[in-house]
Symmetry: C2
Subunit: 342 residues, 2 copies
Amino acid sequence: MTGLSERKKQILANVVEIYVKTGEPVGSKGLISASGLNCSSATVRNEMNDLDRMGYLVQPHTSAGRIPSEKGYRYYVDNLMPHREIDEFTRRLIDAGISPAAGDPEKLVNTARELLADITKCAAVSTAPVGSLNVIRKIELVPVGTHTAMMVLLTSNGILKSRLCRIESELNARILEQFYSICERFFIGKPSGEISPAEIQTIAASVDYDYFALLPLLGALSDLAVSTNDSKLILGGEANLLSRMDYGERAVSLLRFLNSREPISEVIRSSKDDIDVKIGSENMFRQLEDSSVVVARYKVRGDDSGSISVIGPTRMDYPLVISSMKYITDLLGRMITSALEE
Amino acid sequence: MTGLSERKKQILANVVEIYVKTGEPVGSKGLISASGLNCSSATVRNEMNDLDRMGYLVQPHTSAGRIPSEKGYRYYVDNLMPHREIDEFTRRLIDAGISPAAGDPEKLVNTARELLADITKCAAVSTAPVGSLNVIRKIELVPVGTHTAMMVLLTSNGILKSRLCRIESELNARILEQFYSICERFFIGKPSGEISPAEIQTIAASVDYDYFALLPLLGALSDLAVSTNDSKLILGGEANLLSRMDYGERAVSLLRFLNSREPISEVIRSSKDDIDVKIGSENMFRQLEDSSVVVARYKVRGDDSGSISVIGPTRMDYPLVISSMKYITDLLGRMITSALEE
DNA sequence: GATTAGCACTCGGGCTAATTGAGTGCTAAA
DNA sequence: TTTAGCACTCAATTAGCCCGAGTGCTAATC
C-alpha cells in the first residue's frame, strides 16, 4: 500500500473537481483540456483505467467517462482536497449574522444553520447548544393573574425557555414561596437532563400543603426542563436539495427520511470528530446512499455543545462545505461562549 | 343562468371526486362504473360535452377523459360538495394535541398546523395569534448575573417571549428601577405593534441617568415587542407536496415560492371569510396556478386572531380539507380563549 | 519502460416511425 | 331523449436506427 503516484493523485483530484462542477462523467480528453496536464489522452486513459481497477473511479457504463467512487471521494477528502479560504463576501455575511447582539444561543445556532444552507446550497440540520453540563441556573415564576403565571427557566448553557401556567386554586404568596423553596431544594444546580416526570410526582407528593396547586406548576417546570435538553433537530434548506438535479425522483424519499428526524439524529450522534465527513453508504442508511453528511460540532467554553450538519449529494463541493463549516462553527462557539460570560 | 340540471351536477361532482382520488382524467365509461349512474356512456358523453362547453370540464387532449376546470372545482366547492364529518380517529388525535395543558397559544397553533398538514397531506402555514388588541401586559427583567438578565414579555393575547440581555455596566437596583418605571410609563398597556426602534431611541434619550445601561435593555424590549407582533408565517409539511405527483418538476419552484413567505402572506391577508378557498389562478400568483390555498381564521374571544392555511394541488380533497380545518380552527380558538382566562 | 497515435468497438441518448388503446363526437335507430 | 355503433384522434409506448463520446488495445515512438 504505497499510495498513488503523483500523477494519479492529480488525475483523481481533477476528476472529482470537474465532476462536482459539471455533473457529467469526465473523459480523458475533457480532463486534459480542463486541467492542463501535459500528457496525451491515451496516457490519461491508462491511468484512469488503473484508478478504475483500484476502485477510485467508476464508469456509469462502458462508453462513458469516469465518476469518482465513494472510495475516490474519500481519498480526495482525506488527502487531495485543497485548503480553501472562505471568500470575503460570505465571510462578512456570516459575521453580520452571528454576533452576540443577535440574541440567545439558540437563535445564533439557527441563523448559523440558515447561512450554511444558503452557502452550501444543501440541506442543513442543527442541534441546539446542549452540553453535558447543562445545569438549571435560574427559575422564575411571575404571576400575571389570579390563576396564571409565566414561568421562565435559564440553564447554564444560556438556554432560556418560558411558558404560561394556569392553576385552579388561587396563586397566592404562600404557593409562590413553596414553589421557590422546592426549586431551590431540588432543581437549581441540577442537570436538566436528570429531571423526569416521575421524579416530579415524587417531589410534589412530599409537599405538606398545596399539593394540587403545585402539581401543575411542577409539571410545567418539568416540561421546560425537558425542552432545554432535548436537543431537537432543526432542518432547513430542503428546497436546495430539490434544485440539485442529482436526485431525481429519489429526492422525495430523501426528504421523507430527513423529516423523520430520528435516523439523521443517529447519524449525527455516531460522528466523532470535530468535523466528520460521511460519504454515501458510509452512512449506514440506505436512504443516504447517494448523499454525504458533514457533521461539525461547535464548542462552548471548550466543550462540545451542539452540532450543525450539511446534507447533500455525494457530489458536493467538499472544500467549500468543509471550509465554511469550520469557519461557522468556530465563530458560533466563540460567540455563544462570550454571550454566556457573566 | 338557471344553473345546472340535476344530472349534470351529479356528473360534475363525480368527475371531481374520481379525479381527486385517482389523478387520471375520467372518461364516460369509468364514470358510470364508479358512480352507479343508470344511463349509458353515450349519454354521459353528451352531458360531459355540455359541461365542457360550459367551461366546467376540460380535456387534457382530444382523446382523453375530462378533468375539472377551475370553474368546475369552484362550482363543486360552492354547491356540490358534501358535508363530511371528520372521522373519529383523527378527531381524537386533534383533541389530544390541542388542549390548554399543551402550553401557550403559539405552541397550540403550531401543533394545530402540524396536525393539519398530516391529515390533509398538504403543506400548511400558520400565523401566530395576533389581534388588533395585542397589548403589552407584563414586562419582567430578572437579573441572572452582574451584567446579564433575562427579559420576559407577555401580551394580552397570551404571547410570551423571552431573551437574554447583556449590558456593559453593572446591573444594579437603580437601573432595574428605572427600567421598570419606563416600562410602566411607556409600554405597559400599549399595543405592541406601535413600538418602533425610533421611538425607543427617543425614550432612552429622555432618561436622566444610565442612558448607556438602559439602551440595550430597551433595544431588547423593542425586539421582543416586535416579535410578539410580527405574525411570522410558519410553514410545514412541504414534503407532503412532493409525494403528490401532481407537481412534477414544478414542485421545486412551488417550494421556493412558499419559502419566500411574503407572497403567500399576501394571499392569506387578501382572504376575507372565516374560511376561504382560492383555487388555482384565483390566487394571483403564477406559481400557484396549479395549487389551491384554503385559509381558515381562528377567533380568540370572538375576534380574528390568526390563521392556518393549507396549500396543495388544485386536485385536493376539498371536503376533507375544509371539514378538518373548520374543526381545528374552531377548537383552537376555544382553547386559546380559555387559556387566556384570568 | 513509458508515452502516444491510431483504430475498432461499445453503448446511452436522441430521433423517427409504427402500434396501441382509451376515449371522443357524431349519426341513426329505438 | 336515450342508446348503440362507428370512425376518428392523439398521448403513450415500443422498436429501430444512427450518432458520437469515450473506451481498451495494439503497435510505433521516445
